[in-house]
Symmetry: C2
Subunit: 670 residues, 2 copies
């Protein structure tokens, strides 16, 4: 035989593991981005794991909070065709990592082969000795009961008792279980990546937002203050909102200030648009003097907290021409060849009162740090929720860096991305760290549109990193269906937003007052609060405050509505009826929602519900309790008749109670 | 304003690129494995590329042979929704790398905005100055004609001529094209991975294999030699095969040698199974003395090459108990507690004449190097094609390392994986470097099965790295459908293998002689050549050599059949009719195959063909020329009647000729 050349074995072959771990999911862009979870949620992980040859393998999921060195493990079980699944629960408010490990299960392989040989009548006496060797190897690590068990079984395999008995002992489930604790994981294969979970507090997944312009709530048409707004808090709390979000509260520019209805002519007394930030009174770290002082804001925050309400601020990285940055850092803006400063534009649209910030400025490092310090400033005042204006017009790298850095010091921080743009861009912002995101919900109308969109958001990889926040309206959007559908349309969109998505919000009071007057041919509000002070009669006939209060109460009382990924659609024969249900993790809370998408006419039809998924036998009656109307129906079977008059209620929000027992039924219905 | 803290900007934000490049495809397991191509093939690459804000972007595909530092580039074009596509062709027999680059197209954005503003009646005089600036920036790099063009246009934009004319000049396609050569790629984003293409010679994609046992071809029932086999070469060449593959040609063990029909009792004169490799005559680098000498083999190789045929050897890493390795390296094998050596087994099956090699031996580095040296030895004798026996029972890491290393010195090397096992394992071996792979073709029978399997192999990611080689039979497999279907079944399977896949092979002469006698209830050949010498009448009545010759000729003359990924299926109303077509890259060669999957009965029905894909107008006649029967039909429209009597021919292999011109038609049909 020729001399064996001693060639270097390259890295790939250095770890002599026969197991292969691949296609771990979820894994976002090769592990570049984390998946998202809140405390208490589960992470279900799958992987393809297999070895050469015929040996049995064992697979486990390793996970840990990123700041704790100790790995925890969960068994992964075979789904068939070399695919394995395991899961773990997020216990701490800390980012986690997870990975997958596989190893040869020598004892399991031996058990399987022994059984096959024995059944085929093969002499297994030497095989029993092999088993004894394996047990004795485990003894190197085993102590106590296990050690005793292994020692005595090895002795039995080496002894002279009946072979049939030894084979029976070798196949016992008990020994199988005990030996699994001594698998040679150190000789196994580890998936080469640690995949990340960005973990947020529960409110990141379950929240109800109320947006309003504080300046509209002054007495007798005067500019409102934070102090004025404190009187709104009891009613906002009664409606069941837990986040109050203010448009920018900073000084508003004077140069090119917009007049009413976005007019370029500004009349005396026009307050300007809050997104035109900055004047001689200060910039992004200052408060508009008409709204009050920093202390007033803090007082408002304190009062809100007493009602269980958090305050969210708007983060709009753009400047009015009068912003102090312009003089102090002219190089943070773009200048045109004629020496004029570059205003914001999206040709042919122009934003005459706003300058974009030049994120590619030569001085970008200082600029970015300063912009981040704005978040740090407000976080220092107790603000933990930021609604970010137009993040898609700023570099992704900026957000990646800013959010990562802020989360280090403020793990409770929540960033809501207001990016109404193309899907890739919206998803990239979410991957880069935004906690929640505005969506296309506002423009989805038909049954098929809702089903397709919710399927994309909840049943594809998108569900792992993109947390939707559904808004039926915003100060920028009075959608066409609300302009013409009247009160039923408002209620319908409220119920859709609040039950399709566990995060949702409304812009009030125009929402609950069913304000539907738009600039002709546009989705802009007529007489928009963006450009003028309005005053509102909050108790106007037909207001929706009670409906909203009821819907939010139902959300709070029903865990099924506190997540979004659990949505499943039900078949309806009538395309004007959208039906879906959500079930809590423990299966005990089931909410079935049926919405009439037609705000004008009564619609009816059969709805098919998934009795097996609900663990209801087809021949047993069950209770359908409409939590909005408080009506109760006894249903049986999977097909049920629904009729919804939008002028009475455009939707059923039904709690399904599977196990009706005769004796209790009477009580229940009385 | 507070002092700006100078915090370190982390890596992510260090390259201030506003462009995002993601989801590049093909990319196998995050770039861990290469895709496969042969010389002359194209690589089509897609990526999601986008920037923040509203700027236009440009995207290009960078590629190069891995051993050349200079990148080549191909434009990528938008497919919509931020997805881009580009392609390049493999020109050299060298592995390639590719990646994707995106950058802001400042001039393109300026052109677009200028046009919008002009059309909206906005004053654009300052915008023209911005354009002049951009042109002058390009002047830093531009020379010659371009420089002249940019200089004069910039002057025009700064001058006083009519604005409308300047806008027209600014929008010209010519300037758009010229400016694209001066995009700021250096400020753009580069996908952070270089993805690999493993490039093979053309035969890796297009080959016809003929396997036979040389020992069956001696005169008058004597053990055949390589010299004896030389007389087969003209006929193998006439049949159109370009690879001759021998089962192992090494000395065969004596201990536990198998007798006829896999009997554990070996009679005097029984030659043993060629896969029981090694005896006192030598091991994997030796030749069975009955077959001849190394010089005889080399002479055979030389003769084969004269006929355009290459010789492939079998690489079976296992040993007979008499293999020299066993004495020299007992630690390369497994030993049992009773001191006996471990034989190969897959309980309850036993392989009494074969020892598995212990790849996990403590001395594995020397073992692996020695095993690799076997390939190097035969490569040194001119062998470039290896059919690898049971690679799935050896560590993946071993193959990864061996094939990578061999390909460095022998880029022409081809490894065919004989892994009949679970999909993940077969695919992992292909990813790790195997050039071609055996498949499940042998057990696919129904129309739906063929469509599903070919779709998986050619229209999913699998197509990028797994090159199928279809075998209707092997020495281990006489499938059930060939045991009962008679001559029509053999012809049907031949045509399926040869036209579904551009790589295929048969085990002869049992295939062309339609040998269908199996061990009862098994897929094993009765009186298998694996265990005894056979002698054959190659010209026996009903042999398929002429059909095979015709099928291989059709493959050689029609580029459409020289690739596999180009297969598309056609609708048929009769499930016994399978119809598919392949079209060459230039669209000029179209082969439509229709197979009657029923070997017993005539089947007929309508077949729908894709006229638009073939560029044939629905109202024009076209020629369907059956290349097997030489029948010609004039067809019109997409629906055509097919009737196939399996006893005449179980298939049409039709060349479709789109453009019939009256004058030529007569000539053609004469």
């Amino acid at each position: 035989m020729p001399e064996v050349k001693s060639k270097k074995i390259p890295v790939k072959a250095k770890v002599l593991s026969r197991v292969n771990v691949e296609r771990v999911s979820p894994e976002i862009d090769g592990g570049q981005f984390p998946i998202k979870r809140v405390q208490g949620e589960r992470v279900v992980v799958q992987a393809s794991v297999f070895a050469d040859g015929h040996d049995e393998i064992a697979v486990r999921l390793g996970y840990r909070p990123v700041n704790e060195p100790e790995w925890r493990y969960a068994d992964m079980l075979p789904l068939g065709n070399d695919r394995w699944e395991g899961a773990f629960e997020i216990e701490r408010l800390a980012d986690y990592v997870y990975t997958v490990q596989g190893c040869i299960d020598s004892f399991g392989s031996w058990q399987r082969d022994l059984k096959k040989k024995w059944e085929a009548g093969v002499n297994v006496s030497v095989d029993l000795l092999v088993g004894a060797d394996l047990l004795e190897q485990a003894l190197e690590k085993a102590v106590g009961d296990s050690a005793e068990k292994f020692r005595s079984l090895a002795a039995r395999f080496r002894g002279r008792g009946p072979v049939s008995e030894a084979v029976a002992l070798a196949s016992s489930e008990d020994i199988q279980r005990s030996m699994r604790d001594f698998l040679a994981w150190d000789k196994g294969a580890l998936y080469p990546k640690e995949l990340h979970v960005a973990v947020d507090r529960k409110q990141a997944l379950f929240s109800a937002w109320y947006e309003f312009f504080p300046r509209s709530w002054g007495p007798e048409g005067k500019h409102g203050t934070f102090r004025d707004c404190e009187r709104l808090l009891p009613e906002i709390a009664r409606m069941g909102f837990d986040v109050v979000y203010f448009p920018p509260i900073h000084p508003i520019g004077v140069t090119n200030r917009k007049g009413k209805n976005n007019s370029v002519i500004c009349e005396a007394g026009d307050p300007g648009c809050p997104w035109a930030i900055g004047s001689s009174d200060g910039g992004h770290k200052s408060i508009h003097p008409f709204l009050g002082t920093l202390d007033d804001l803090k007082h408002f925050i304190g009062e809100a907290n007493r009602y269980g309400i958090e305050v969210a601020l708007d983060l709009a990285y753009q400047c009015a021409p009068d912003h102090p940055y312009v003089k102090a850092h002219p190089d943070w803006f773009k200048w045109r060849p004629d020496g004029s400063i570059q205003f914001a534009e999206n040709p042919p649209k122009k934003y005459e009162d706003v300058l974009p910030i030049n994120f590619e400025s030569a001085d970008w490092k200082n600029l970015w740090s300063e912009l981040k310090s704005i978040v740090e400033f407000w976080a220092g005042q107790g603000i933990r929720i930021f609604r970010v204006d137009n993040p898609h017009t700023k570099p992704f790298a900026f957000w990646d860096w800013l959010i990562e850095d802020i989360r280090k010091n403020y793990p409770q921080a929540i960033f809501l991305a207001e990016a109404f743009t193309r899907p890739h861009v919206m998803y990239r912002l979410a991957k880069g760290g935004f906690t929640q995101s505005y969506t296309y919900f506002t423009w989805r109308n038909t049954k098929q549109e809702f089903m397709d969109y919710l399927t994309e958001l909840t049943r594809t990889e998108v569900a792992e990193y993109f947390r939707p926040n559904f808004w039926p309206n915003t100060p920028d959007i009075l959608p066409v269906h609300l302009q013409s559908g009247g009160r039923p349309a408002f209620i319908m969109r409220l119920i859709l937003a609040a039950t399709l998505s566990s995060n949702y919000g409304i812009y009030g009071p125009v929402f609950e007052l069913c304000v539907d007057k738009a600039v002709p041919q546009k989705e802009e509000y007529a007489q928009s609060e963006k450009y003028e002070l309005r005053s509102w009669n909050w108790n106007q006939e037909g207001h929706l405050k009670d409906v909203i209060a009821r819907v939010n109460q139902v959300r709070r009382e029903n865990p099924a509505l506190q997540e979004t990924r659990n949505i499943r659609f039900c078949e309806t024969k009538n395309d004007a009826l959208l039906a879906y249900y959500k079930m809590s993790k423990d299966g005990r809370n089931i909410i079935l929602v049926i919405v009439n998408l037609d705000p004008y006419h009564t619609q009816c039809g059969m709805v098919t519900v998934p009795l097996p998924a609900w663990n209801i036998e087809p021949d047993r009656p069950y209770l359908a309790h409409d939590l909005l109307s408080n009506d109760r129906y006894i249903w049986q079977g999977e097909s049920n008749y629904i009729e919804l008059n939008p002028h009475i209620s455009p939707a059923h929000v039904i709690r399904v109670r599977p196990h009706l027992h005769r004796e209790q039924d009477f009580d229940y219905f009385m």
